[in-house]
């Protein structure tokens, strides 16, 4: 039996995603964002999180999904990976579940249009829930972004 992990569940569109709870610092409601010019389009800007300036990424933009209007449900998940503090804008975040590592499968090549390299695996909960576990280091990997940008630009 592998161990249980706690996972924060959030939504982008209809998909459900998971981030290990240790990597999440807090979950905040939407707050004013100061735009930072001359940077990637998915970086929405910076916020003031209790005195610390933190960059905020629109996760939809990062994954190439069409960006959505912010609603009451919109949240900013502050994660801390590789000593980098970054906020993710997500459509909603309202669940913490225990997950057994055993039920996380290797990701299929294409899941919901998101490149497989951003994913750690997919967990099937119950009969019809699929939870996509994010590989945060890859999501925040900038060398790959630079490549993308230069291709697009």
């Amino acid at each position: 039996m592998a161990e249980d992990i706690k996972v924060i569940v959030f939504k982008l569109g209809t998909e459900e995603y998971g981030i290990e709870v240790e990597k999440v610092q807090t979950i905040e409601r939407m707050m004013p964002i100061t735009r930072v010019p001359k940077t990637y389009s998915f970086i929405k800007g910076v916020i003031n999180l209790r005195g610390v300036v933190i960059p905020v990424i629109d996760l939809r933009g990062r994954f190439g999904i069409e960006e959505a209007e912010h609603t009451d449900q919109t949240r900013i998940i502050i994660v801390n990976v590789n000593e980098m503090e970054v906020g993710f804008i997500v459509d909603s975040a309202n669940d913490v579940i225990d997950l057994n590592r055993d039920i996380i499968d290797v990701p299929p090549d294409v899941v919901g249009g998101i490149k497989a390299k951003y994913l750690d695996g997919v967990a099937k909960i119950g009969d019809d829930r699929l939870l996509i576990m994010l590989n945060l280091s890859e999501v925040l990997n900038k060398s790959e972004i630079v490549q993308l940008e230069s291709l697009e630009g």
């Binding site: 930072v36 010019p37 001359k38 003031n48 005195g51 610390v52 960059p55 503090e85």
Partner: protein
């Protein structure tokens, strides 16, 4: 036991002790007979040894142990400090420093110190190579004294004695031995002094007057004495006192006196009761120090050497991790934001009690802000304290005489600036001693004193701290600088002809520029003043040179008080707010569209007789809701980088503000044109513009 948790404490404390060792050694070198300084050095070395042994750094512990052996002999008067011992001890301290450095870098603190250890052991065995020995013996012979006791004179005392001789007085060297069964030897000694002072003046005694007073001597003492009476007469007078075993009084002539003056601190002598030699007797001719009295004031005598020995002032401090202070700062800025909100709410509610409370809270948090800021301030002393040693070594290796005078070491600067400013200052000081101060022969030829002076000054002025390095050396000749620049192809002859002196001095900061004819060991390591300038500029500071050819040069470094708080101009671009550092703003103004011309596709603006580029911030930053091109008149901010100016077009000026600089986080280390962010009073983040980015 896991020692890792103590390692950082060990390193901090070791560095403190090493610094204290260095300082005390410098103090001792200036005043070699002050054994109280030796005590301070011994204690530091001893503590260091204990700590190193506990932490398992054997090499460190054994080297300090050898140092202790030497110091122990010195403090117990078995050994007299001299150049060779000083050099060996300084080398030991250097070795200790590199070991601690190694430990700081994660090493085991191992080092090959056999050479130093064997030198130290040789000293302990009494095998001291000494150039001064020969002449010391001559002196001893000249004094005709069986006792090997020597009294060393400082320059002042020596000149007093010499003058007395010239004026026809007798200068006597008197050695007094008190009977071993004497009960109150201090009283006997006092009677001798009293007697002598009736018919002359005691210039210097050995042990010092204070020590004799406190019975800190065995059964004998010696002194230099100026009188009109004959040596034999004095001898008889003293012998008439009871409980005096023997007296020898020898008249000195110019020759023997001169030798003694030269030998100061150069000889080893098994003095019967040597102890610190402080001041001459109070009545000594022209001696300006009233503190050394035969009678009370013991406190004074004790306290003074302790201070001279570099003992730290008893301010009580604790070590705090700088990151905790950053957290405190962050929490504090949050508090400030809440305060602004509270003030707004209170003004809406219009409740007297509430308004009063909020106002009081405002005052308290204002005071709190000052304190929080001050916590990060560190006196420049922490950087300056390593310079005396450096200048000493430098002067020795260049065979020059240099006095370093430090003033304003208590001037405070933000920790972030302190950490960065050390290297540029080292470079400027080396420069001053190497290139500035002339050789002894040149100085004498120029009619200057042999010893050159380097002044290191720090002081506050407005929102800046100035650090000045001024020497009385040969100065910089603008003509030579220009000639050298032309030769190197940095400028043309025509340019050189029209350059002012100040512009010529600025050339010294050009990359790869050095006026040194000969590349010496000290400078010429490929690091030029351009690096110094770049470093200081990166700190938001500035360097200026003032020089009077033949008289000396002054490098003046202007630094911001802190890197984390700056004065800035807040500007609006549509709905966005940006901060522009005040230090780079030349002026602000309004221009009409008609004044803007296009030259080679670049928009230019006439500004004070010349054309400067106009940069559209809204275009560069692609501001969504503002574009100045539709406006009849545009607000501009003229910013400077060195000599170049650029006008930035903005929508509105909001005003001047003190802002706390924050970085954009690790994920966004560098954004073009943006140097950081700050949090405004309403909690919003405003970006700080880096004006340098717009100036190529």
């Amino acid at each position: 036991m896991d020692m890792n948790q103590y390692l950082s404490m060990f390193i901090d404390e070791s560095n403190d002790h090493l610094q204290s060792l260095n300082e005390s050694m410098m103090g001792l070198e200036a005043n070699p007979e002050d054994l109280s300084i030796v005590q301070v050095i011994f204690r530091s070395a001893h503590t260091l040894k204990g700590m190193a042994a506990t932490m398992g750094f054997e090499d460190l512990a054994s080297l300090t142990h050898q140092m202790e052996n030497v110091l122990d002999l010195v403090r117990n008067n078995k050994l007299r400090m001299q150049d060779f011992i000083f050099d060996t001890l300084f080398k030991s301290i250097d070795a200790l420093e590199s070991m601690v450095e190694d430990i700081t870098g994660g090493g085991a603190g191992k080092a090959d110190v056999t050479a130093i250890v064997s030198s130290l052991q040789a000293i302990v065995r009494g095998e001291v190579p000494s150039a001064g020995n020969a002449s010391a013996e001559v002196t001893a012979a000249a004094s005709g004294n069986a006792s090997a006791a020597q009294v060393f004179l400082d320059e002042f005392q020596y000149s007093v004695l010499e003058q007395s001789l010239q004026e026809g007085h007798q200068v006597l060297y008197v050695d007094v031995a008190i009977r071993k069964d004497c009960q109150l030897k201090a009283v006997r000694a006092y009677m001798v002094f009293d007697l002598l002072e009736r018919s002359g003046e005691v210039v210097k005694s050995f042990p010092s007057v204070q020590d004799i007073e406190q019975e800190k001597f065995d059964y004998g003492f010696s002194l230099y004495y100026i009188t009109q009476k004959d040596a034999s007469e004095i001898q008889k007078m003293i012998l008439n006192l009871s409980e005096i075993e023997a007296v020898t009084a020898v008249a000195l002539d110019q020759e023997s006196l001169r030798q003694m003056g030269q030998d100061t601190a150069a000889a080893t002598a098994e003095a019967p009761a040597p102890a610190p030699v402080q001041e001459a007797a109070p009545a000594a001719a022209g001696n300006a120090s009233p503190a050394a009295s035969l009678h009370p004031k013991e406190e004074n005598g004790k306290a003074a050497p302790a201070r001279a020995g570099g003992a730290p002032s008893p301010s009580r401090t604790i070590r705090v991790d700088i990151e905790r202070l950053d957290v405190l700062m962050n929490l504090f800025s949050e508090l400030l934001i809440d305060r602004v909100r509270l003030e707004q709410l209170a003004s809406e509610v219009q409740n007297g009690d509430l308004t009063e409370t909020v106002e009081h809270m405002g005052r308290v948090s204002g005071d709190l802000q000052n304190i929080v800021m001050k916590l990060r301030m560190v006196p420049v002393d922490t950087v300056f304290n390593r310079f005396p040693r450096m200048i000493r070594d430098l002067a020795k290796s260049l065979d020059k005489k240099v006095d370093l005078i430090i003033t304003g070491a208590d001037t405070e600067l933000d920790r972030t600036v302190i950490d960065e400013i050390g290297d540029p200052l080292v470079h400027l000081l080396r420069n001053a001693v190497d290139h500035g101060i002339e050789s002894i022969a040149d100085r004498v030829a120029a009619g200057k004193p042999e010893t050159g002076t380097v002044q290191l000054r720090a002081f506050h002025s407005g929102n800046h701290v100035f650090i000045e390095i001024e020497e009385d050396g040969k100065g910089i000749y603008p003509k030579n600088v220009l000639a050298s620049a032309v030769k190197k192809g940095a400028i043309t002859q025509e340019q050189a002809n029209t350059m002012s002196d100040d512009e010529a001095y600025q050339l010294l900061f050009a990359p790869g520029f050095s006026t040194a004819e000969v590349i010496s060991d000290v400078s010429g390591r490929g690091v030029g003043l351009d690096v110094v300038k770049a470093k200081i500029s990166s700190l938001g500071g500035n360097v200026t040179i003032y020089s009077t050819p033949g008289k000396g040069t002054n490098f003046s470094v202007q630094l911001p008080l802190t890197l984390s708080i700056i004065a800035a101009m807040l500007v609006r671009l549509g709905s966005e707010k940006y901060a522009i550092p005040l230090s780079s703003i030349v002026e602000t103004g309004i221009v009409k569209q008609a004044q803007i011309r296009t030259i080679h596709g670049n928009r230019m603006l006439e500004f004070r007789g010349s054309h400067i580029p106009l940069v559209s911030l809204s275009k560069i930053f692609s501001v969504p809701d503002y574009d100045e091109s539709t406006e009849e008149e545009t607000e501009i901010v003229v910013v400077r980088k060195g000599e170049r100016l650029v006008a930035l077009a903005v929508q509105d000026f909001i005003g001047q503000n003190e802002i706390v600089i924050k970085n954009l986080g690790k994920y966004l280390p560098e954004v073009q044109g943006i140097s950081g962010a700050t949090i405004l009073g309403d909690g919003q983040v405003a970006l700080i513009i880096d004006p340098n980015a717009f100036i190529k």
